[in-house]
């Protein structure tokens, strides 16, 4: 019996290790990055989050900025139940970095059909880069419940 028990354990462990190797491969070979620490919104004692966001660059001027050859930054402010700006235009093939934050509750930020998918948490800056190779209209959707009109929270990204 002892032998059977060991076989059990070894077999289970082997399956697991196989999965881990696959994951490591995906990370290294496919260069997939998770959103991480992209900064916080400095909030003074007693200050309201919305006021602090609007006083912090780049959220004081939300929109598209060219930050290098072929590189764009898109600053977006999320507020129940819209994004500022609501319509965004970027060139196809360029590296687009989304820098987003929320002024009130937790919101979501996803673009169906892409890897662009992150949570927006009050006080924190969420950041993610992506290259849109195919021109067309992409939809930005809030996919975290954020109050009674959550299902109307959307924006459009035009890739030209």
């Amino acid at each position: 019996m002892e032998r059977y028990e060991k076989t059990f354990l070894v077999l289970s462990a082997a399956v697991l290790v196989a999965f881990l190797v696959a994951l490591a491969y995906a990370t290294i070979a496919m260069h997939i990055e998770l959103p991480g620490k992209a900064g916080v919104i400095p909030i003074k004692p007693g200050q309201n989050v919305a006021a602090a966001v609007l006083a912090t660059a780049p959220f004081n001027h939300p929109g598209v900025t060219k930050i290098g050859p072929d590189q764009y930054q898109v600053a977006i402010v999320a507020q129940a139940w819209t994004y500022y700006p609501r319509e965004i235009e970027v060139p196809a093939g360029a590296r687009v970095t989304f820098v987003v934050t929320s002024v009130d509750v937790t919101h979501g930020f996803e673009i169906p059909g892409t890897r662009v998918n992150m949570m927006l948490i009050p006080g924190y800056i969420s950041k993610l880069s992506y290259r849109f190779r195919k021109p067309g209209n992409y939809r930005i959707i809030c996919h975290e419940y954020c109050g009674i009109l959550h299902h109307t929270m959307t924006a459009v990204l035009r890739v030209k």
Partner: protein
């Protein structure tokens, strides 16, 4: 040769009061499920663009119903079932009664807690979903209700630990009976895991909702929530594993393969509590290094479930062969499918295998970026908690309710159909949600009301969700009919005992395996792991950033 998994094989009877308390606790859970699935139906139809929830009298919005669905199904049903069922298995395993006062207190806590939370939800004061992320702010009755529900599980734990401690004092040098071991480790795991949510609710949200704090800390709350929110799934699952290891082998005519492997599987869950960060892969403010590290741990939790799959398959195979099953898979068709308790639970196992695959995809962060917060996630957890767990609860109820009522199960054939209908339903439902998820269909969203156009792929996805969800709903209704008729009009029948597996060999009294029973030690190890993973994050974060003002637009 074989060995029992309980202390006394025969001649144990639970005092009548305790039997009734367990009965009422379990019925409270099923009553919550009955309300929960009604809301499930409207959610499923909404994904096909059909809006029926405006006809629901108690709900002003989709989200109000979704909050009820999440809280009643994922919290009240599961906690009540665990409290009742695990109290029973522990008492039976140790061959001794529990403490009546503690059982009364536990029942009172979960009943009052449920009523308070229900009051808040039905009056529209708590439309915050079952994750209640601040600064969405519910009324204090909601948080107090949740706190009481958690306290009921702690009371049950206290009862289990006291019973076990007394038993060990009376039986020095003996191994803990296997059934008691599985039961107690389930609650030990949960006690440690629940500290996150308890701290969140009691230290942050409850005082905030009473106006005692200047604001809420969305990030800290979320992290504390997920500290509990991942291991909570083991708390849903482990009572079902108790049945799959402790009862199913007997019910199918097989045997439990190994005493030690079973203990190791349960211990693994205790040690792997701190993996909840994978729910926050896409959150800002948490370092990617920590996230990668957690991804590794997350994979480790498949280990005890793989062990379970092997062990259960072994038992089913012996059972199937003893009923004349032959060949490589022939035995599978010969297990007693006619027993509704068996068919429900074996179908639940099949759903769990599929759920396990989608879980692996979820845990791989590369994949997670595609499907996070899409309906892929709901597709995953309806295979797991809503089927592997809930359909197993139903299967267990098919022997448990007759045992508690001393009545014969009514409608055995219908019960068998019930499990198949629910199972086929969830397969269709989850297929739809999975397809939708890959096409970015958001979860927690009434697609019937969205202000933007549907993507083309969402059409088929929503249709499948609606058809499958309706079948699940029918399956659930049949379950309640069977239960109600059995309770109200069932024929009296003396049911002497619960089904109990046997292991192939007695547990050893010497060697490494004895150390598995040193539960205090293992609890300590687990605590250290939790501190390592969460300690640095929380220490860096404290004191709480109470930045967010209440948001109540729901």
């Amino acid at each position: 040769m074989s060995a029992p998994i309980v202390y006394r094989s025969e001649g144990f009877e639970l005092p009548g009061v305790q039997r009734n308390l367990i009965r009422w606790t379990i019925y409270l859970g099923f009553a919550a499920l009955a309300v929960g699935v009604v809301n499930g139906l409207d959610q499923a139809l909404s994904y096909a663009g059909i809006n029926i929830f405006r006809f629901y009298p108690e709900m002003r919005t989709y989200y109000q119903g979704l909050t009820v669905h999440g809280v009643f199904n994922a919290i009240v049903l599961t906690f009540a079932f665990g409290n009742g069922f695990i109290s029973l298995t522990t008492a039976r395993a140790l061959g001794r009664a529990l403490s009546t006062p503690i059982q009364v207190a536990a029942f009172a806590a979960i009943a009052v807690g449920t009523v308070l939370a229900a009051f808040a939800m039905f009056t529209g004061e708590a439309t915050v979903l079952y994750t209640f992320y601040p600064p969405l702010e519910a009324s204090w009755t909601f948080y107090l209700g949740l706190a009481l529900i958690v306290i009921s599980t702690w009371l049950v734990s206290a009862d289990l630990f006291l019973s076990l401690a007394r038993w060990r004092r009376e039986h020095p040098g003996e191994r803990i009976p296997l059934l008691a071991y599985m039961s107690v480790v389930t609650y030990l795991m949960w006690d440690l895991a629940s500290l996150g949510i308890a701290a969140e609710v009691v230290l942050l949200l409850l005082p905030w909702s009473l106006g005692l704090l200047p604001g809420s800390d969305p990030m800290l709350s979320r992290t504390l929530f997920w500290l509990t929110g991942h291991p909570i799934v083991y708390f849903w699952l482990l009572p079902v594993y108790v049945s799959w290891y402790g009862m199913i082998p007997r019910q199918v005519g097989g045997k439990l393969f190994s005493d030690s492997v079973t203990r190791i599987a349960f211990l693994a869950f205790l040690l792997l509590i701190p993996v909840g960060f994978h729910h926050q892969f896409l959150d800002p403010g948490i370092s990617p290094t920590l996230k990668y590290f957690i991804a590794v741990l997350t994979f480790a939790i498949f280990f005890p479930s793989l062990m379970t799959a092997f062990a259960v398959m072994y038992a089913l195979e012996i059972g199937g062969r003893s009923h004349g099953g032959k060949g490589l898979i022939g035995w599978f068709f010969r297990i007693p499918w006619r027993d509704p308790s068996v068919s429900a639970q074996v179908l639940a196992m099949l759903a769990f295998m599929l759920g396990g695959i989608s879980g692996l995809m979820n845990a791989s962060y590369s994949m997670n970026m595609m499907i996070h917060n899409t309906t892929f996630v709901s597709g995953h957890f309806h295979l797991t908690v809503a089927t592997a767990v809930t359909l197993s609860y139903m299967g267990i109820a098919y022997w448990l309710v007759p045992y508690l009522e001393q009545k014969e199960l009514w409608g055995r054939t219908l019960a068998r159909w019930q499990s198949w209908i629910y199972f086929v339903g969830v397969l269709i439902f989850s297929t739809g949600l999975t397809i939708g998820g890959f096409a970015g269909m958001p979860r927690r969203t009434p697609i019937a009301l969205i202000s933007y156009p549907k993507l083309p792929e969402w059409q088929l996805a929503g249709l499948l969700a609606a058809v499958g969800g309706s079948l699940m709903f029918i399956g659930a209704v049949l379950f309640f009919v069977i239960l109600a008729v059995t309770i109200l009009a069932g024929q009296h029948e003396a049911v002497a005992d619960i089904p109990l597996s046997e292991t192939v060999e007695r547990p050893t009294l010497a060697g490494w395996a004895v150390r598995l029973d040193r539960l205090g030690l293992w609890l300590g190890v687990s605590l250290v792991l939790v501190l390592i993973v969460y300690g640095s994050f929380i220490a860096h974060h404290l004191p709480p950033h109470l930045i967010s003002q209440p948001f109540k637009a729901f």
